[in-house]
Structures are given as structure tokens and as C-alpha cells.
Assembly symmetry: C2
Homo-oligomer: 433 residues x 2
């Protein structure tokens, strides 16, 4: 089968991330789609050092891309609502499927774009427009489709969450942290879109439409920023057991639908209150599923590219297969499943927590640490406590990562020591970094 | 268009939940699919009081369902791997699409079932087989499809997580909590499948195949239960800053793929360590997206039914639409978007955190609380602190839920008091329950 051909318009952060994912994971992606996906053309005002476009047809006129008859899917990553809208409309008119990360475009012009796309029978996919790499659009439209959604609440702007997290963790002021965020590249020179909640309102508008089945109504979304939050507010909220987060909230009530973005106190008992830094998370409450949470990186070249390319794969699968085989049973086509070896557990490396009972005598600990050392096992922490009225005491050792077979040898040797009582309790430790 | 017709085999917990969701959310589901979905037949050994099957063709022979020529989609919810396998094979042979929640069947017989299904060109969907209501199969197969998955780690057995959470929070013993879990219906009379990790190993087998593109290899999954974990282990782990969780872990390494279920220490800094009770969560690490987490109910009639019916909707959408319109742009078909009113923010109810500065004089607090009371605002907590060398002190008031317009009136009145200095800082509070 000939490759699916995509054209990328815009080679900034997300454009370069998306381009690089298509190159890096080309083989894996072909196994998922049953067909290769190639970049036929890139339209960008300038090159981007972050990606190597050697051999790719690069044009300075993005409209070349939507007019290129070879191209199946146009990826719009230029942002904004003027040229981007014209570009997407032209792509639709030309019968191209469109993938975009443009939240402003979808929130403000989506109703019109979708009507045109439906007329022309093309797909317009926009997973990357909300919450970066988190597949929340797919979860709402498909994964949770059995539910009547009752409410959703999300941390959907990474810049704002970084600022509030720093204010809370380090007791710093808003202006101070904003300046740092700008230096780190998390915030724009003009931070209005992020800190005043406009970006979050675009995303919330999209989420609410999909959750409740209502038209996009950006202009009716209540929006309040975080620039007036003081470090004193954060400290008092903390005293009460609450974090201050910049949330987008959409809720069904008997009176109507609430659509609002504002700083919000939420209890630390909520997972959402523990989402810090530039990470995003969206909580969805459905009538069948109850509360759910999706967490991940809300921005950045590769995380946002992850969603852009997932959409490209979605479209490519649709135009390449029958309905029945659109998504292979195991996600990869059956004839491309790999025969990678499954490791026996003895070969697995992880940390270990050892809980043992020893006689409280001189030299026991030395013997134990000697055995661990002989088996190349290094210790991360030790707890030894007295036990009143007993000459046996508990000893807990936590080790760094080590192959399980080394640990088995060490445990056998330690259990054979005369001053070690009974069996050693051994529990593995994972760092999940 | 005529309705999509489903047949449900098995009317236990998940069967009744799935049946009820199809009834309760029929209108919303039809708006998503563009067509109604109706239960054509139910096959069950006995009725279930939890659902009203009046008017539905109920048979005691589940094979009637797979042989019913009217039925498009067979939902297999009888569990086990003997009759269930025979039933699913027969359904496939008869050209029916299959939706199942049966993790043992997929993990142990999936390779064979998928080969047959591919031959016959039918879909076999199994979102409900892993992590109940969390759409993790869809996330891995589609939402994160741009990624080379590096690892995943999940709390994928609610019973085990309930037991470990109780042991940790209330310093109780394993046997004691297990007995309670059995009384609450969270654990079976024979708890082996859950507490010895077999159920989790089934689920991990499925997740790993989808993550890495390898055949299902249940027999190679290392499995260790939690029945040997003591309350002392839990307490020592806690001292070190770690929770003990029963994790399923799949990881790519240079040497091969790790597939293992065992009790595991993870740092409290990880969101996963803070997933408690019967809730499930799966962390996926992709090369593009980085770390992600999906959280939700791992079991129960409605949460598992949520995934069963999402799969039914997936199949129904596929057999009802062209590729381009399989999933509507906003999840609901354009001509069914609703015109629900968006509430003005003044009509929204939530709690408020007020941070104000008052003169440290008698009667100020009485005046403020009087104004709040007059506006039907009740107080949840108050913090008032001395400020050295100043006659102005900060006062923080947190209120219960109230309509924003009442709060606006109260704030205006409080700001007009002579002993209140400057503007009141007002931040909303959400309980997200």
C-alpha cells in the first residue's frame, strides 16, 4: 500500500515535535496503521534547527501545502485565528483531512469549520488543542461515550499551574515566578493569554461541547486570571488544607450549564490538588463511571506532538482500512507483532525493601552489609529499632536497584546467618521515573 | 436508520450495569451514534433484580443469543474461559461483533480469538477487561499511538488496593481487612484471583501486548500476591516515605520485556501512591508524551458497564457511518447538539475564600458575620491572626456554597464597613465531589 502523505504547516515548537515523532517512530507507527506515514511537504516561514528536513519538500508559502494534490492530511500548526482559519477552510475545500493543535481556532471558529468539513466529508481532528499529550478529547468522545457527563474540572494551562505551584511550594510572589517562567520559556513575553485564563477558556469551551453535546460557545465562558493571587492567599489556603489552582470547570445544573475559568481552592485530598508544575490534568465525572482523572504533560514539542500524530494515525487508519480492521485488536497489525523476549524475573532489576528480625548482638549488621556488598547491592536506607524486653529486633534495609538473582543469593546467605531469625520479607521498590 | 441490535449474555453485576446504562442513557447514546442501540435479547441463567427486563426477549440459553440472526453485537459477560470461549467463537463464526469484559478470556485465549475474528472481519472489543471504567485500552491503542511506550505501571485490582489502603490508613492486618472486604462484597469468598495477583496478571498481559505490540503471553507474566504483606511492612515503608501497592509493571529494557505483578514500594511523591481504596490507575510512560496517568473506578456494575457500552458505541458507530463521520467532530451528531443555556456567573453556586484586612477593633467580626448571614451565607472556617505592630489584621473566611450574586452583595456591604481596609480578595472553592 502506498504511504499516507501529510503536509505540515508551521514548524515551530509543536511542528518540529510532530515532524520528529513521525521520523523517530516511523516503524512503530507503520505497524499500528498498516501503512507508512510520510511527510510530503512542510510549509514554514523559516527552518527550525530542532528538526532535519533534508530531503523534504519545504515551501515558504503554507498555501502550497493545502493545494498540493499529493497530500492526504494537512497538519495546521501555525496558530491564531486569521490565516489559520483561511488555511483550514482551503484544506477542507480541497478535500483534505485536517489535524490541528489550534485551540483558539476550534473554540472560536469550530462550529463553522465543522459544518464545512461535514459538507466535504473530511475529518478535522484536534486532540492536541486541549491538555497537550493527554488524550482527553478521545476519552470524552469515545472512551467515556456511555456516560451522561455531569461535570469536568481541569488544570489545562501549564504556565498558570507552574506559577501557582511555585508560589505554593516556595512561598514566592506571582510577579517573581512569572519572570522566571518567562526566562524558562514556559510563559510568553506577553503572558496575558495564559495568566488571564483565555487559553484555558478556549480549551474549556472545547471540552464542554464534547462533554455535553452543545455548540462551541467561547464568548459565554466566564474567565478570570491568576494575576491577582497573592502569596498570602496561597499560604492561608494551605493552612485550611487547600491548594489554589487555576481550573476550568464545566458543570450541568438544573438551571443550565456552568462554564467558568478562575482560581479555585480545592482540598489537598483531591488528586487534582496534587498536580504540580507544568503538568495538566482533567477530572471528568460521568453518571456511570463516576470520577475519573487524566494526567500528563500539557504542553511542549513532544507531548503536544504526541496528540497531533495520534490524530494523524486516527485519520490514516480510517482512510486505510475497513471499519472492522480500523484499529487492530492489539493496536498493532497482527503480522507485525514482535517476538521480543519476556525477561525471567531473576533478570529484572529493581530496588528491594528487606524486613528481617535479627538478634541484638555485635557484628550482625556488619555481616549483613558485607553479604549485600559482596553481591553488588548498595544500601539506600536502614531502619533499626529497639524492641523492649526482647533480644530480637526488626531491621529494615532498602537497597538501590539490583538484579533479582543477586538479591536471591544475598537473601539466602543472610538467612543462613545464625543471628538472623526466620525468613526475610522482601518487597520490590520501583522509582517509576 | 434502524436501531443497532445487541444481545447481552450474562446478567450479573456487569451485565445489569451495562443493561441499565443502555436504558438510562438511550437518548444521549443515540445522539452520539446517530442511531439507537436496543437490547434485542438477554441470555441469563436467572433474572437480576437490579434491572427491569420487561419487554425484552430473555432466554435461559445464552447460545440462543449468538445464533439470533437479528443481533449485530454480542456482549459476553459470563466470565471464565470455557463456555465463554465457546460462546465468543460461535458469535464470531456467526459474523457477530463481540464486546467482552472478560480479562481471563482475552489474556489466555485472545491470540486465537483475534485470528478467528480477523478471518471473519468482525470486531472484538474488550475495554472493560482492564481497569473497569478507565478507557486505558483506547488510550494505549489510539490516544497514545504516536508513542513508543517505554513502560507502564498500574493499580489494576481494586480488591487488593482496598486491602493495602486500609492496612496503611488504619494500621490493620491483612486477614482482618480481607474479611471486611469480603463482607462488603469487594472480595470473593475465594479471594485467590484478586489477592494472589492472577486477575492483575490477566490485565497486565493485555496492557503489555497493546503497549509494545507483542502477542498475549499470560503464562510468562511473573505473579506474586499481597497475602504475605504485614502491617509492620506497611508501617516501615511509610516511615521511609513509601506506600506499598500491588502493581502490574511492564517495561521495555535492552535485555527484553519485563512483565510482573507484585507488591511494590513507591514513593508518596508519585500520584500512583495516592490512589486509594477500590480505585484503579495506570501510569504510562511514552517516548513522546512522557509520563501520563489515568485514574478511575476499577470495578462495579456501572463503571465497568461504562466501558462495555463505550465499546458497543464504538462498534455501532463503525457499522453505522462512513469513515469520515464515524465519530462526530464534537462527539455528538451536529443536528443533535443541544441548546442548553450557559449560566451567567452570578447564578453559579460555589464556596468562597475571602481574604480581607480589618482594623483590630471590637465588633468588626460581628458586623461581617451579620452581613454574611443576612445574605444567606454560612461560614465553614475563619482564620484571624495578630499582626505585630499594626492595628490592621488579616481575616480569612471560607464559606459554604452560595450563589455568586449573594456573595457580590455581601462583599459590597462588607467593603463599605469603616473598619474594613481596602478591597476583599475573593477566590472560589470547589468540592469536586
Amino acid at each position: 500500500m502506498k504511504p499516507v502523505k501529510v503536509g505540515i504547516c508551521g514548524l515551530g515548537t509543536v511542528g518540529s515535535g510532530s515532524f520528529n515523532i513521525l521520523q523517530e517512530n516511523a516503524e512503530e507507527i507503520a505497524r499500528r496503521v498498516g501503512r507508512s506515514i510520510v511527510v510530503e511537504q512542510v510549509g514554514a516561514r523559516r527552518d527550525n534547527d530542532a528538526c532535519d528536513t533534508t530531503g523534504v519538500n519545504v515551501t515558504r508559502d503554507i498555501f502550497d501545502v493545502v493545494n498540493n494534490p499529493e497530500i492526504d492530511i494537512v497538519i495546521e500548526l501555525i496558530g491564531g485565528t486569521s490565516v489559520a482559519k483561511e488555511l483550514v477552510l482551503k484544506a477542507i475545500e480541497n478535500g483534505k483531512h485536517v489535524v490541528t493543535a489550534n485551540k483558539a481556532l476550534i473554540a472560536e471558529c469550530g462550529n463553522e469549520l465543522f459544518a464545512k468539513a461535514q459538507e466535504k466529508g473530511v475529518m478535522v481532528a484536534f486532540e492536541a488543542a486541549v491538555a497537550g499529550g493527554i488524550p482527553i478529547i478521545k476519552s470524552l468522545r469515545e472512551g467515556l461515550s456511555a456516560n451522561r457527563v455531569q461535570s469536568l474540572a481541569g488544570i489545562i494551562n501549564g504556565t498558570g499551574n507552574f506559577i501557582l505551584s511555585e508560589m505554593s511550594e516556595k512561598k514566592r510572589n506571582f510577579d517573581d515566578v512569572l519572570a522566571e517562567a518567562q526566562a524558562l520559556g514556559y510563559a510568553e513575553a506577553d503572558p496575558t493569554f495564559d495568566v488571564e485564563g483565555i487559553d484555558a477558556a478556549h480549551k474549556l469551551t472545547i471540552l464542554a461541547s464534547i462533554a455535553f453535546g452543545i455548540p462551541l460557545q467561547f464568548e459565554k465562558t466566564y474567565t478570570e486570571g491568576i494575576s491577582q493571587i497573592t502569596s498570602e492567599d496561597v499560604a492561608f489556603a494551605d493552612d485550611l488544607g487547600y491548594a489554589i489552582k487555576h481550573l476550568g470547570i464545566a458543570k450541568r445544573t438544573d438551571a443550565g450549564i456552568e462554564l467558568r475559568v478562575h482560581p479555585t481552592l480545592i482540598s489537598y485530598k483531591q488528586l487534582l490538588a496534587n498536580v504540580n508544575g507544568v503538568m495538566n490534568a482533567v477530572m471528568v465525572q460521568g453518571d456511570a463511571v463516576g470520577p475519573t482523572l487524566s494526567y500528563g504533560a500539557g504542553a511542549g514539542a513532544l507531548p503536544t506532538g504526541s496528540s497531533v500524530i495520534a490524530d494523524v494515525i486516527d485519520v490514516a487508519r480510517a482512510i486505510s482500512s475497513s471499519h472492522e480492521s480500523r484499529v487492530p485488536y492489539l493496536g498493532f497489525h497482527a503480522d507485525t507483532l514482535s517476538d521480543d523476549a519476556i525477561l525471567p524475573v531473576e533478570e529484572v532489576e529493581c530496588g528491594f525493601f528487606l524486613n528481617l528480625t535479627i538478634k541484638d548482638r555485635a557484628g550482625v549488621l556488619a555481616n549483613i552489609t558485607q553479604i549485600l556488598s559482596t553481591n553488588d547491592i548498595s544500601i539506600e536506607s536502614i531502619i533499626q529499632r529497639e524492641r523492649e524486653g526482647s533480644d530480637s529486633v526488626p531491621l529494615v534495609v532498602m537497597t538501590h536497584d539490583v538484579k533479582e538473582q543477586n538479591m536471591n543469593l544475598a537473601i539466602a546467605a543472610i538467612e543462613a546467618l545464625p543471628d538472623v531469625v526466620g525468613k526475610i520479607q522482601r518487597i520490590r521498590v520501583e522509582h517509576l521515573a
